[in-house]
């Protein structure tokens, strides 16, 4: 059964100012902004409210009645920022905290309150903490977000609605407690429905016809008959483990122990879900607020703590603990299902794949991701483009490798110019000079004409010749373009075995 806590800050904006200027706290303070040529009050604090000042009054009128009123300029958008920060702060009470604009928070406290000794103690702790910061806070707890919201604002302070008792608390409250629009409230008031109890038991179809779809929906949400969702300020990562340390940790040995513990827990969790880690981040929070992180990636999903530790191991030295780390967080940012676990018992090949995957992970962690590549045939003739990198590394070739044309075993990444003597045009060269050495051609094959793919690049075609010199060394030469345009250039492009 879920439990929700609602926190309401009745004087949020005014108190965000007075908590930093305590001398103002006991007197009436209002925040005002210029609207249509006059100063209008946007927010008030508790003493001002006690004097009857409310939001929407004109500052000049209030000043006339209370000359000692302190008027401060209000900032637009400040309320959202403060409430966001407070929602992030309240993550210490529950992992699921969300913003309830304009001046409240909703916490999903399911399974959290026993850590504070009970729901009452939980709310007391929140009130005391926020009170210490200078905020007036109203809290309530209920089974539904709607009921908790209503109880916070319209019931007794620190109201804990017992499980299943939402309806009892709502009966005596005014319709405003249902988070309705002003027009609906106006219509309810006109019809004399002053308490929620007056209409809560009416059939929803009747309410919907008279007051629109919002009213039955809000009633349903407050009673728990309709689902209501809120967005947490920090999304809950499914694979994230945290480890707090009592004392700051400043040694590599300490960090190693922390990392090993976290990996152990994370891998267990991954194993129960049948998942494996592909990408992981290890974050270390230093006591001065600095956050450092180490990242790893794997080729195959892995949940072997020893292997993952090895990937992190040599990066530990890059952390700068200075005064020490107080919190370590390990998160699997990318996971993939491990499907072949069962097959691995029977099939040695998949076990081998895992071993090779671990080896390549190690290499990539040390030499960089780009250093490892596998090649597949590409359906192109131009030699530089005839192979492509396999992405990902385990991609299977879709077309077979061609062996019908001679291709060298060593290819120069950039063809090098050579000087050539050829007997006749379109004949293989008789001799060629490469790197200051003259090679007499004894045997040759060719030409093999390879055209540029015009849809990819412009340029001359190449006539490739395989030639063998007198010692038996074999080369792959080409002439760029035809003879008729002056002296064509010759290049060496590769070496045959």
């Amino acid at each position: 059964m879920p439990r929700y806590a609602s926190i309401w800050f009745p004087y949020l904006l005014a108190e965000s100012v007075t908590r930093k200027r305590p001398e103002l706290r006991d007197g009436p303070v209002v925040l005002a902004s210029r609207q249509r040529g006059r100063m209008v009050i946007d927010a008030v604090n508790a003493p001002a409210k006690a004097k009857g000042i409310h939001v929407g009054m004109v500052v000049a009128d209030c000043k006339a009645i209370f000359p000692d009123l302190r008027v401060l300029e209000s900032e637009s958008g400040k309320g959202e920022k403060i409430i966001q920060a407070l929602a992030e702060w309240s993550i210490r009470y529950t992992p699921f905290s969300s913003v309830d604009l304009p001046d409240g928070l909703i916490l999903d406290t399911t399974g959290c309150t026993h850590l504070w000794g009970g729901e009452k103690e939980y709310l007391e702790s929140i009130e005391a903490k926020l009170g210490g910061y200078g905020y007036t806070v109203r809290c309530a707890m209920a089974d539904t977000i709607g009921a908790a919201w209503a109880a916070t604002r319209f019931a007794n302070p620190r109201c804990i609605v017992k499980p299943g008792k939402q309806k009892e608390i709502l009966l005596d409250l005014s319709p405003e407690a249902l988070r309705l629009e002003a027009s609906v409230l106006e219509r309810l008031r006109k019809l004399g429905l002053k308490r929620i109890g007056d209409f809560i038991d009416m059939p929803p179809s009747v309410l919907r016809r008279r007051f629109g779809a919002a009213l039955p929906l809000r009633i349903g949400q407050a009673l728990g008959q309709e689902m209501e969702f809120v967005i947490p300020v920090e999304p809950i990562e499914p694979y994230r483990e945290r480890l707090c340390s009592m004392e700051p940790i400043a040694t590599a040995a300490g960090i190693t122990i922390a990392l090993r513990n976290l990996l152990e827990i994370l891998c267990q969790q991954l194993a129960t879900d049948g998942m494996g880690l592909r990408q992981g981040i290890f974050r270390a929070y230093r006591i001065d607020g600095d956050v450092q992180h180490l990242e790893i990636g794997t080729n195959l999903p892995s949940r072997n703590p020893n292997h993952l530790f090895k990937l992190f191991e040599h990066k530990i030295a890059t952390l700068r603990p200075d005064l020490g780390f107080e919190l370590f967080v390990l998160e699997a940012t990318d996971v993939e299902p491990v499907t072949d676990e069962q097959a691995a018992i029977w099939n040695a090949a998949s076990q081998n794949d895992a071993k090779i995957g671990e080896l390549l992970d190690k290499v990539m962690a040390k030499a960089g991701r780009e250093s490892v590549s596998r090649y597949l045939p590409a359906e192109q003739y131009w030699p530089e483009r005839a192979v492509k990198k396999a992405m990902p590394l385990w991609e299977k070739p879709v077309t077979p490798w061609r062996t019908d044309w001679p291709r060298p075993i060593h290819l120069l990444s950039r063809p090098e110019t050579i000087e050539v003597t050829a007997v006749l045009p379109d004949y293989p060269p008789m001799l060629f000079r490469y790197k200051g050495k003259t090679h007499h051609v004894a045997k040759s094959d060719g030409p093999e004409r390879i055209e540029q793919e015009w849809w990819l690049a412009d340029g001359l075609y190449r006539d490739y010749y395989c030639v063998e010199d007198e010692s038996g060394a074999r080369y792959w030469l080409f002439r760029s373009g035809p003879y008729d345009a002056g002296r064509p250039e010759w290049f060496i492009h590769g070496f045959f075995a």
């Binding site: 090949a349 076990q351 081998n352 794949d353 071993k355 090779i356 080896l359 390549l360 190690k362 290499v363 040390k366 030499a367 960089g368 780009e370 250093s371 490892v372 590549s373 596998r374 090649y375 597949l376 045939p377 030699p383 005839a386 192979v387 396999a390 590394l393 299977k396 070739p397 490798w401 061609r402 062996t403 001679p406 291709r407 060298p408 075993i409 060593h410 290819l411 120069l412 990444s413 004894a442 045997k443 040759s444 094959d445 395989c466 063998e468 007198e470 010692s471 038996g472 060394a473 074999r474 080369y475 590769g494 070496f495 045959f496 075995a497």
Partner: protein, 242 residues
């Protein structure tokens, strides 16, 4: 009968000694026939699988021949579905060309190490991984200590390692089982027909532990080594080497 028992015992002892001397354990999967021309030089007449083979070349064309010969050897070792690692530091290998030597180029994972030191580390790590069917390393310099580390890794895992040293400073003493030098020979064509013919190599086994250094002239045709019995082979001394 007694002689038979003794012979069997001697054979077992010899295989133990071989294992201790870095020639690897004799396993059933060794294919005698596939590597038939070269087995004879090695102790026991078997091409050692769990060993480091060192190759030295100086000319670009010889380097290509060496790569071709290594590819052919790796192709013989590869089993269906297994992988081979090719580690280099700026390697020039063209995958499309490997297919001619009985090796599917997509079964090779190429690793381009940023430094030679890192390349050595990767070769050692790779040799420790039993799941690989072969490891090829292209490095310039290999010291005695490093070679011993590689040899020890191989003896434990049984993965054959081929180290290709292109233009090393010196042919220093290393702990590898064998040292080879491959040079290209003029191709053999049938009945003097025009064209290039099959690749031919002069294979020199310069050093081999407990074996007899030897040399072979073979051609690569039909995915197999075929000895050349031709007359036009140029003797080694007359060719300009180095």
């Amino acid at each position: 009968m007694e002689a038979e028992v003794k012979r069997e015992m001697a054979r077992q002892l010899q295989s133990k000694i071989d294992a201790m001397q870095g020639l690897g354990k004799r396993s059933e999967r060794q294919q005698r026939n596939a590597l038939s021309p070269f087995g004879s030089a090695f102790p026991g007449g078997v091409f050692p699988m769990a060993a480091i083979h060192e190759f030295i070349s100086y000319e670009p064309s010889d380097a290509a021949s060496t790569s071709g010969f290594m590819t052919a050897l790796v192709g013989k070792f590869m089993q269906e579905g297994s992988l081979c690692l090719w580690i280099g530091n700026g390697t020039k290998i063209y995958p499309s060309g490997l297919g001619h030597f009985g090796l599917k180029p997509d079964r090779i994972v190429f690793i381009d190490a940023p430094t030679a030191k890192l390349a050595l580390w990767i070769i050692e790590e790779a040799l420790k991984c039993e799941a690989l069917s072969a490891v090829v390393g292209e490095i310039k310099e290999l010291g005695f200590t490093e070679s011993r580390r590689l040899q020890l890794a191989v003896e434990r895992s049984g993965v054959p390692g081929f180290i290709h040293r292109y233009r090393p400073q010196a042919e220093n003493i290393v702990a590898c089982t064998a040292r080879w030098k491959i040079t290209a020979l003029p191709g053999n064509t049938v009945d003097g027909l025009p064209g290039m013919g099959h690749s031919c190599w002069d294979i020199q086994l310069l050093k081999v532990r407990n074996g007899k250094p030897d040399s072979w002239q073979v051609s690569w045709s039909g995915n197999n080594f075929a000895p050349i019995i031709e007359k036009h082979i140029v003797p080694q001394q007359e060719r300009n080497v180095g």
